[in-house]
């Protein structure tokens, strides 16, 4: 699943570490989600979206396999 986390992070001037701390996950998890290697769970997707003040659809791009 593609996402706009990196783009939103750059826009907000947030580091991966700050986002990770705010979402209660490790920095490695944020790196993996950003690079598309790992798909975030629904609660984590909500936490990330809330952090940026967006909806899930604004952050994550759903693609049918």
């Amino acid at each position: 699943m593609k996402n706009r986390i990196k783009e939103l992070r750059k826009k907000n001037g947030t580091t991966q570490d700050e986002l990770a701390n705010a979402c209660n996950v490790t920095r490695q998890t944020i790196i993996s989600i950003e690079s598309g290697k790992y798909t975030a769970s629904l609660p984590l997707a909500f936490r990330i979206s809330l952090f940026f003040g967006c909806t899930i659809e604004d952050v994550f791009i759903f693609e049918e396999e």
């Binding site: 990770a20 701390n21 209660n24 996950v25 490790t26 998890t29 993996s32 790992y38 975030a40 769970s41």
Partner: protein, 139 residues
């Protein structure tokens, strides 16, 4: 449950490990044959591991920042996912290798050992299905 309470419980558990290790170490001197050496080694291993873990957890308790970092790492969903994937792979490979070992043992006329492995595989698969049914019923 608070993470600090979890750490306290772990310290208690590892204290039991140390106690069990020391008991095994003491008991090993009552056993005269080679089994005594084996029990002694197991006792030392338990005690050393227990001490190591107690030291590690006490260090965590004293440092709030380190404890928070540890809590995040333990609750991190990716880490949990990786752990579950690794367990799944272990189950798969263990079953395959056990099946190969069983066939080899039967072919080399070591039927008793082969049967033990065959029963172990059966038990493993039955436990898997019981767990599957229980978890699917629960969720």
């Amino acid at each position: 449950m608070e993470f600090k309470d979890k750490i306290k419980k772990r310290i208690l558990l590892f204290a039991v490990y140390v106690a069990a290790g020391l008991v095994l170490f003491g008991v090993s001197y009552l056993v005269k044959d080679n089994t005594g050496d084996l029990i002694r080694a197991a006792g030392i291993a338990y005690a050393v591991c227990g001490f190591g873990q107690i030291f590690r957890n006490v260090r965590l308790m004293k440092d709030e920042r380190l404890m928070k970092k540890r809590e995040i790492a333990e609750k991190d969903e990716r880490n949990i996912w990786i752990s579950n994937r690794a367990k799944s792979c272990t189950f798969f490979f263990f079953t395959i290798f056990s099946a190969i070992a069983m066939i080899v043992l039967f072919l080399t006329e070591r039927k008793t050992e082969g049967l033990v492995i065959a029963y172990a595989i059966c038990a493993e698969v039955i436990i898997y299905y019981i767990c599957y049914l229980y978890i699917s019923h629960k969720h």
